[in-house]
Symmetry: C2
Subunit: 299 residues, 2 copies
């Protein structure tokens, strides 16, 4: 099964209580595809600038990620800097240089048109729709979004949501988008907007799966040390979709197992700066932590 | 098995998005003993004033709660007023009239001295110790606390913690008391302070059990509507201890089942103003919701 992701590739400057990292390879498409890598190869649609040197490219190609859809543009790669508070509850953006990402117009190589699993990472909703239209016959489409699009591009976002199978969203965005409280009411309204399933991410408090099948909850794995939570949400989605991509057949149980796998991979992401821990992640490690997560709630 | 609780009995004025209630029977000992009522009778040590009329008393005695240790003092009962924000994330205290609670000196009736399970509700730590000293041979002692005692009565609190088996504490208090982050590190340090087990409550995000046996996590039940979260933490502890009181034998599994039972009862508490839902709670209802909670994390 072919898994496609559209999103950002970025250079991140990150500062946390554990230290700091500069020009770390980041971006939603990067985290997503590396998190999926223990399970399946994925195809990336994104844009980078002239400063995206072979050493960065190799982080992706070393994990068999297909970068034919990685556009090269004149100028610099999207760059972002952020500082996390002591307990990681908030983060302050130091700078956001969109650079080549500002004019990103996703165009899929012909070889990507047969993609079966699609993840529309957190980019402008009309661009998400552009990508979707270029795929012949997608089997399962998921999308992520953020408060910026909820506030400024609501109608386009609603069109995306009507056309997808799974919405990934965090709890605050769910409240913002629906105006409903508590979570169960917000989830019901999101499901009425179109998707069969909605995954509500709650950071260090785990994630809920609502919709087709029974409601399901996975805790976040309690870590002894958090180094850098950047990309945990994209890693969650990447591992979720990657797990589904390698399943013979998808049933309700597959989605629940995908949730546990996703939580496991997201926890690894938080244990290193940037994609450090994802680069070396093996299916065995993921399985081992998945079992630990299941054990947390088993009597 | 005899379960004793020391804590407050209060009249609460509560305002939430769902409405408001005035002079609702509340207080930690009230919530605790009513939450334990589906499983066992409990003995209350607390103080009330002259305004504590028979109708309030009957809320307790109707559930076979032993009120021999309920002291009557001249003056008014402890009264508290609070307003919850729209999404229940914060609450503002409108007033705190300690009244007779200001001079509370817990004295146990002779009939209480053989109590086997003991819960030291959230009162001044030196009073918690006074209660403990009046019990002949307690089998299992648990205690709750709050930021006020952590900040102002730290040494006395540490003495309590050295002398108990289970500490109930919320995540913010755990960080405050230990200065450690993340949760796992805070929990380790709390366990070094004395107790065999620590239960870290996280409100709508569930609760962790650390210590003897494996780490265990129970989610909060996702409610369609939250009416009033007051007393959810005390209900959690009451159901937890009540569940243990009716077990033939205590092993690690008993504590995990107690966690699920506690989460179930705490969720019922949030569905009504004050103790409204607890007054009528049956073992069957608790079991049914406990099964729903287990189902949330089962594949």
């Amino acid at each position: 099964v072919n898994l496609l992701v559209v999103g950002s590739v970025a250079f991140d400057n990150i500062e946390t209580r554990a230290g700091e990292g500069k020009r770390l390879l980041g971006g939603s498409a990067t985290y997503f595809s590396l998190a999926a890598a223990p399970f399946c190869t994925s195809r990336i649609v994104a844009v980078v600038g002239e400063d995206f040197t072979p050493e960065y490219e190799e982080v992706l190609t070393n994990r068999d990620i297909d970068i034919e859809g990685l556009q090269r543009a004149k100028g610099l790669t999207f760059a972002w800097g952020g500082t996390y508070s002591e307990n990681f509850e908030t983060r302050e953006t130091q700078f956001t240089d969109l650079n080549v990402f500002a004019d990103f117009s996703p165009e899929l190589p012909a070889s990507y048109r047969d993609s079966e699993l699609v993840f529309l990472g957190n980019i402008q909703p009309s661009l998400q729709m552009d990508v979707l239209r270029q795929i012949d016959n997608p089997g399962l489409v998921a999308a992520d979004t953020m408060n910026l699009w909820i506030n400024d591009n609501r109608e386009e976002l609603l069109e995306v949501i009507r056309n997808i199978d799974i919405l990934f969203i965090n709890d605050e965005e769910a409240f913002l988008l629906t105006g409903r409280y508590p979570l169960l009411k917000a989830a019901s309204m999101l499901l009425e907007m179109g998707p069969d399933r909605v995954v509500i991410k709650r950071g260090e408090h785990g994630a809920f799966l609502f919709g087709a099948g029974k409601n399901f909850y996975v805790p976040a794995f309690p870590l002894d040390d958090i180094v850098d939570p950047t990309g945990a949400g994209d890693s969650f989605a990447g591992a979720f979709m990657g797990y589904l991509a390698q399943e013979e057949e998808l049933n309700d149980e597959s989605f629940r197992k995908a949730m546990i796998t996703a939580s496991a991979v997201a926890s690894y992401t938080c244990e290193g700066f940037g994609v450090e821990k994802l680069k070396r992640l093996t299916p065995e490690k993921v399985l081992s932590r998945s079992e630990e997560i299941q054990d947390l709630t088993s009597i």
